[in-house]
């Protein structure tokens, strides 16, 4: 547990020291949200209807950048090998990094919400429900994302491989998070919010468990 906390602290510190990168990733996400509206046209009711989808697509695209970056820095000066020599289990390293990535993605998601509200006129007062979707959705992105970033950061063509591997995998997250966010923004007369949140939670639980089980093999060999 101490090792996990130390790993988490190290990754948070890394992110804080590289905060310029985080700002750039946020700008990328915001630019993506701006571009999506050009695909639809200036029809404000259509934009509002699609706002949730755009938010999650923007977050998904931006997440590949931040997930890739989280392992790119471990590749410099063979930092990863130094980490593996420490008396800490690989599981602690994985969960430390995955939680740090989760925190970063959740923050990114929350930062993109005002952009969405302004651009698409998609405001809501159910902020707690929205926060729950963002937290659970980004949890579902960060667990498999951290696992795959560990592999792809060591390959050629890493910029292509991470999204190629991650996107098909997180289809359920995208579906459920878009649906749930939509329901929060546009209203939920049929009470469908809870099943989608449950799906997000189940996805996160499954992938956080498999990730912890398999990460050791990925970095040790």
């Amino acid at each position: 547990m101490n090792a996990l906390f130390a790993a988490f602290r190290k990754d948070l510190l890394l992110q804080w020291r590289g905060r310029a990168q985080m700002v750039a990733i946020f700008a990328f996400g915001a630019a993506a949200l701006l571009l999506f509206s050009f695909a639809i046209g200036p029809d404000s009711s259509a934009l509002r209807e699609h706002a949730a989808g755009f938010l999650w697509l923007g977050l998904l695209l931006a997440s590949t950048l931040s997930l890739a970056e989280s392992f790119e820095c471990e590749m410099e000066e063979q930092a990863l090998e130094g980490l593996l020599l420490l008396p800490a289990s690989t599981r602690a390293l994985y969960y430390g990094k995955a939680i740090a990535n989760w925190a970063q993605l959740a923050l990114l998601g929350m930062a993109l919400v005002p952009v969405m509200v302004v651009l698409y006129d998609a405001g809501t007062l159910r902020l707690l429900s929205l926060l729950a979707v963002i937290l659970l959705g980004t949890a579902g992105l960060s667990a498999p994302g951290t696992l795959y970033a560990a592999m792809t950061s060591q390959t050629r063509a890493r910029q292509t491989l991470l999204p190629l591997l991650l996107f098909p995998l997180v289809v359920p997250v995208l579906l459920a998070a878009v649906k749930a966010t939509s329901l929060v923004i546009l209203g939920d007369p049929m009470e469908q919010y809870r099943p989608w949140i449950t799906l997000l939670g189940a996805f996160a639980v499954i992938h956080w468990s498999i990730g912890g089980l398999l990460f050791g093999r990925v970095v040790e060999d």
Binding site: P168, P172, I206, R217
Partner: protein, 238 residues
């Protein structure tokens, strides 16, 4: 060695023979379907392809588990072969489905859960094949693709149920018509035909994978390649 080297070819030949027989039965002998006419006859390859695509990917998943537990190269060979076969069959499945859907539903694509899940599977497992292509170290390639295969396989049912859920909130599904007994035999024969065909092809493909790895590893390394610190990785035979 002789016997084992000709076995996959025998499987392929037997599979092709069954496939020809089943297709002849389905195309010429079986009665046409009342509502859809001859278009329906694509079912005789489509449904067996669907079963076998799932089976091939399940086989790849089992190979991935076996590799992670035993570290034996033969499982990596089979994983590579099985995954390629699964991706090819899934891709064929999407194509056959589109060919059938255009005259029947009037569209090439529909967001049916099975269809969407198959498309997601093509990308998920195709991505793992791409990963294999970009990793030069055979040990890392084998371990990573096993890990990725397990994660992707576990994800398949979640994708299926989420799409089903997502779609059911939009529109009711047209239910698949129950298959009358006149259509059973060509379906079964073709299913076994494709099964034998892909088992034979996987056997051949696994041998190619083994030969390629032998070429990749410098001779002095083959005995000491167990850099994992676990059970030694055994030789390249299939």
């Amino acid at each position: 060695m002789r016997a084992s080297s000709s076995r996959p070819i025998a499987f392929v030949a037997f599979g092709v023979a069954l496939l020809l027989a089943g297709s002849w039965w389905g195309l010429a002998k079986a009665p046409g379907e009342v509502f859809m006419g001859d278009v329906q006859r694509i079912m005789y390859v489509h449904v067996p392809t669907a079963w076998n695509a799932m089976l091939a990917l399940t086989f790849a998943f089992v190979c991935a588990l076996c590799f992670l537990f035993t570290n034996a190269w033969k499982w990596d060979n089979r994983l590579e072969a099985g995954m390629e076969m699964g991706v090819v069959l899934s891709l064929l499945l999407c194509m056959q489905g589109s060919i059938w859907a255009k005259p029947t539903w009037g569209v090439w694509w529909d967001w049916d859960p099975r269809l969407t899940t198959t498309a997601v599977m093509v990308f998920a497992f195709g991505g793992i094949l791409a990963l294999r292509a970009f990793v030069d170290d055979p040990v890392k390639r084998a371990v990573w693709s096993s890990v990725a295969c397990i994660v992707a396989f576990v994800d398949v049912p979640i994708v299926y149920f989420s799409v089903k859920w997502w779609n059911s909130l939009h529109q009711a599904q047209s239910t698949p018509q129950t298959v009358s007994s006149a259509f059973h035999w060509p379906l079964r024969i073709n299913a076994f035909g494709i099964l034998f065909l892909w088992i034979g092809l996987v056997g051949l493909r696994a041998r190619v994978a083994a030969l390629r790895r032998r070429g990749e590893m410098a001779p002095p390394l083959t005995q000491k390649q167990s850099a994992t610190g676990r059970a030694p990785i055994t030789g390249g035979a299939v």
